[in-house]
């Protein structure tokens, strides 16, 4: 993967387009639940392990998760140094595994799009 400054704008645009698609897709679940009678949501709280990452990384992934319809960051666990974990509330994932798979997919895509020369 070429993580140079030169490709940064293209990677950012690519990520923005993917994120826009993701928002449309997850909006559909929310809209369907909102417009039909009864409740289709299967709410859950999952612990997402981010690993050894910077403060900026934690803040950015938290913001992106909250901006995505149906998911909400509840906060970071622990003292805020070393190994990072955040708690995420999800409304429309069938189980914890699929929720974490989607969240980690977003984390990896974000990391790839903002990395410059090996550091996020």
């Amino acid at each position: 993967m070429n993580a140079s400054l030169l490709t940064l704008p293209f990677r950012l645009i690519g990520f923005a387009l993917w994120f826009a698609k993701e928002i449309v897709v997850s909006s559909l679940a929310v809209v369907r639940d909102s417009l039909t009678p009864g409740h289709a949501s299967t709410p859950r709280v999952v612990r997402m392990e981010l690993g050894e990452v910077s403060d900026l990384h934690v803040v950015m992934i938290s913001i992106l998760i909250t901006l995505t319809p149906g998911t909400l960051t509840l906060g970071q666990l622990g003292g805020g140094t070393g190994f990072r974990e955040i708690l995420v509330h999800s409304m429309y994932h069938e189980d914890d595994e699929s929720a974490l798979a989607d969240l980690h997919d977003m984390d990896q895509r974000m990391t790839r799009s903002i990395t410059i020369g090996g550091r996020s």
Binding site: I23, S27, V30, V31, S34, L35, H39, S41, T42, P43, R44, V45, V46, R47, D55, V58, V59, S62, I63, L64, T66, L67, T68, P69, G70, T71, L72, T73, L74, G75, Q76, L77, G78, G79, G80, E85, L87, H89, M91, D96
Partner: protein, 135 residues
């Protein structure tokens, strides 16, 4: 109508749809966390879409600059604001809707043995500390 105006109206329409979703969600969802989720989305994306759409109807340089700053600030702060409220709700023991799967939260509680989310245990210091790193 010019092409620019059409684009502007489409963006404003998208923003209004996001807003309407948050309004319906606020009335219909069962607990604080689902409502905060709906509002977090609308606050960031709804305002951003409406503002971009509005500025395209009168695109002077000054307006474009102000709107760009407003959109960036809005995207950065709105989601953090919702997270802050949700985190305070968890810390103060607001109930989750019946049926919510809380395995990970209970595990985290047991592991931290009563340590509240993101902040050190013990008495609260008078000033707020490490806000940026703890969100």
């Amino acid at each position: 109508m010019s092409v620019l105006t059409v684009i502007a109206y489409v963006l404003i329409l998208a923003g209004v749809v996001v807003f309407a979703g948050a309004g319906v969600g606020l009335l219909k969802f069962r607990d604080t966390y689902m409502r905060a989720s709906a509002v977090g989305t609308a606050a960031g994306l709804g305002i951003a879409l409406v503002t971009i759409g509005a500025v395209l109807t009168m695109p002077t340089t000054a307006n474009l600059v102000k709107a760009a700053v407003a959109v960036v600030l809005q995207l950065a702060t709105a989601a953090v604001g919702s997270t802050i409220i949700a985190r305070a709700a968890v810390n103060s023991g607001h109930a989750f809707a019946p049926g919510t799967s809380l395995i990970d939260l209970d595990e985290a509680d047991a592991k931290l043995a009563g340590m509240p989310l993101t902040e050190e245990s013990g008495p609260r210091p008078s000033g707020e500390t490490s806000e940026g790193s703890s969100v």
